[in-house]
Amino acid sequence: MSEIYITKGKLPEIVELLTGGNRVFGPVRKGQYHEFSLLEQVADLDLNCRNTRLSPKALFHPHSELMFQFTLEQGNPQSGILKEVPKDFSPRIVLGIRPCDAYALKLDDKNFVSDKFEDPWWVKRRENTTLVGLACNDPCATCFCTSVGTGPFDTTGLDALLVDLGDGYLLQAVTAKGQDLLENLRSAEPVPQDAAERVAALKKAAEERLGVQFNLEPVKQKSMIELFDAPFWDEVQFSCINCGTCTFLCPTCWCFDIQDEVHKEQGERIRIWDSCMFPLFTLHGAGHNPRSQKLQRVRQRFMHKLKYYPDKYTDGIACVGCGRCVQHCPVNIDIRHVARLMSESCSCPA
């Protein structure tokens, strides 16, 4: 796979080049924080952003998505027939996605693409998108990617990786899609001779800073029932207020609800993010709710990420260590603390 070098001064030109024939998305400052948005002008792109407030999952699985439309007009032969809403699947590039968030999309694939079923919109969006990652030279204090099977320079989920070398970016192709992208960028400079060493040094420094903050190996070995019944959940759940912040900011929370909305004789079917933190999430039509208590809902979130998912898919855990939930939980529930409790199964605080 090839690599090219882009000086910081040249970057806008390169991005401009990419916007020809592609929709380019990247971190854009919106008020107090950054969000992945379509770049309306190249200057909007802000690669100095440490990470976006909301994860880029919304580019593939929007908060609210129109699925179908229908009419209920009497006498209309089309009445009651669901019609797919056309969507834009033209090629797009996501610039500056962090390795953890890209890795998360891989994990989400497990849910949206299986042997039996495929979510067509997820699949098409994944196919039409080239992910150009930005390596983390400077991880946050709340980051823990190295503890959950990915890392600040992990290319697993990416098509190409940008590494900030100070005066410019090294752009490395990872997949064939990434290679195609690189081949279209002819205005590149020579790659500095010591680039590989500098990348390795940055990677080492970032990884060392992150360290390994907990070890989930014991959780894999432990029986699910034992963890389920562990006494520490009572302590973990106390402060939770059951808002959806953690799940909505999380790049690996994929749950959704489907709602039909009808206005006079026209209607639509919408897919909307849902959260296991909400009591309504599991409420049965008959009125029974298997997770009516806060403890059950809090436990579900952590067990799903750190136990059920690894047990079911046996290839890693459903958390990428982006730290969004740690940073933004209004009551400071820290998944790292919970992970330690789960692996130690002891109720004493860290």
């Binding site: 929007p62 998505e65 129109l66 909305e261 026209q266 639509e268 919408i270």
Partner: protein
């Protein structure tokens, strides 16, 4: 829009204002036909959600009317309603609903003339405000 006629939802209490409307009818008093009446037990029964629901479904105006203070069939229902709707009206206007969309009145079952007169005033005010622009729930504006 010269031929536009507003749709107005009126929540009238069973004991007074609905009676007033009834009497206006049997007395053959004229008032505009823009009003759709929903009979409620008491003005205190009207939940702010009802008013929002009416606006969301495209009402150009909402009118709540009950017994005069002191005459409530349930002694005090309208007195609670008075505080509830004063605050609701203030908050709605504060957040950008035009004045003239939401109306409140006290009309007894004997006050057919006041009913017809208030109905005219309400319709005129809503007409002056024009077709509703805000709070109307249409097809979801989502991706």
């Amino acid at each position: 829009m010269t031929d536009w006629e507003p749709k107005i939802v009126a929540f009238l209490c069973n004991w007074c204002s609905y009676g007033g409307a009834d009497l206006a009818g049997v007395s053959r008093l004229q008032y505009p036909a823009n009003i759709r009446i929903i009979r409620v037990p008491c003005s205190g029964r009207v939940n702010p959600k009802f008013i929002l629901a009416a606006f969301r479904q495209g009402a150009d105006g909402v009118w709540v009317s009950g017994c005069h203070p002191g005459d409530c069939h349930y002694i005090e229902g309208n007195l609670y309603a008075r505080r509830k709707f004063t605050l609701l009206n203030n908050l709605l206007e504060h957040t950008g609903i035009e004045p003239g969309r939401l109306h409140f009145s006290w009309i007894s079952s004997a006050e057919a003339t006041k009913f017809a007169e208030t109905a005219r005033k309400v319709v005129d005010a809503v007409k002056a405000a024009g077709p509703a622009q805000h709070f109307i729930k249409k097809q979801a504006e989502v991706a």
